[in-house]
Amino acid sequence: MPFFEGKGMTGGYGGADIITSCTINVNQGEIVAILGPNGAGKSTAMKAMLGLLNLKSGTITIDGKDISNLSPQDRVKKGISFVPQTRNVFTGLTVRENLEMGAFLRSEDLNNIINEIYDLFPILNEKKSQFVGELSGGQRQQVALGRALMTKPSVLMLDEPTAGVSPIVMDELFDHILKVKATNVAIIMVEQNAKQALSISDRGYVLVTGENKFEGSGKELLNDPEVRRSFLGA
């Protein structure tokens, strides 16, 4: 049984269904990429798993427990952390304050966790007293990742973590994501940079018009001629 799973999810934002019986799952220490053309419902599927969207049917389970009826805040308490695509940092707060806010619900001393985050993202230690609004795009994404990791989540969901950053920074961010994976966190990410995302992912899902179209290991998908032709542009 997978560690975190959204099974047969159907729903939308009120009007027509955006995802229909879509199933996505992830295990601890695994990276899963959700790919697909624009408007395929990739982000929607992820938001449904976080509870930002009311589902008509389908169940979300974590570690065997059904959390389908919990609010996003309560799911965060269950160990799910989410990094939105945009506005994913507090620009008017310092790097350290951003990390502190990430662990708002924890009451113990935060210094140990913050130091762990600094070990993972050394640049944050260097810039800890700077306002996040003054940092570069790649550094901001690291703050966003660091903030999400402050709750010590078992599942990390990333919505296009490399959107709008240069190719060099993208490689660097993927390296960081692999480091996070090594700490036994289950990672789900939605990505536009499909090739690169698949190359670091253990498995991938390709969604088309809200349904599972292809799924398999990163390598299988990369080598699948149909997937290559339709989504990888080669």
């Binding site: 965060v76 939105p84 506005r87 620009t91 008017g92 707060l93 304050e97 502190e100 806010m101 619900l105």
Partner: protein, 336 residues
Amino acid sequence: MDFLNAIILLLNYIIVPALSYGSQLALGAIFVTLIYGILRFANFATGDMMAFGTMFAVLLTWYFQSLGISLGFLPTALITIPFAIIMMILYMLTIDKFVFSYYRIKKSPPVQLAMVSIGVMFVTQALVRIVIGPFDRRFLDGEKFILKAIEFKEMTGLNEGLTIKTTQLITIVITIVVVSILFWFLNKTKTGKSMRAYSDNEDLALLSGIDPKKVVMITWMIAGVLATIGGVLYGLDKSFKPFVYFNNMLPIFAAAIVGGIGNPFGAFLGGYVIAFAEIFITYAYKKFFMYILPESLEPDSLVQLLSTDYKFAVSFSILVIVLLFRPTGIFKGKVL
């Protein structure tokens, strides 16, 4: 000697009054800016809420005076402030629960909330007039001056006297204390940081587990403290007249916008910018020039740029200029 006299003249008529008036505006402007930053609307009831809090201070001052309680040379109103703050906070939380929270939960646009606050303004205005009436009230007692002009002249032998009113000193000291505590709270405590986070990015704050109800409640409590203290200090320094408090909304909003709306430190400085601008522009400089210029160049007119009747035009002009050329204010606005 003439040069010293000129400086004392400026100190007496411009700098000391502007510092105390600026402090009063600063407290109001921080109130406006906090509500704007966290609850995301321009609160048009600002002036009247300040009058509401001050009203309790005035009523309690009369009550304490009738009981024979006083603070000696300090105004009795100072001991009434904590009670007035409690009443003010209760009123704000009640209004929030029955009026603002409905629109907040519905996620109404900020303009709609601003219109709602105009409704709250009328109701608050009416309540104040029903309870205490529209008249001009003085509730200052105790020693009126710390330094009298005559004493200063005897001490220094200068022609010009420097007067420092007790209320001016009290205003400046209390403002420094209140604002320091507020900035310490916002920057160093977990709750304060969560308020800044909520103001910065509401969605992410919710995802981080910050409780919006608690943030809103604490915002109103701080607002109650600022509104009451600002209002009482203004009333002690000048007098308590509800209509004047309503009018003060213009310089207060100007101060908040000049400083960058949503930025409490900007609002604090903005208060002084507006106060100094108002007083600098409406002061008659004739006597000042008589001291510093040779007799042959002495001005015939009052050398007053604008009559004091037009002091609101000064804040209004500053407001318009800032909005035209630097809409985010001197400091970057919308960041708490």
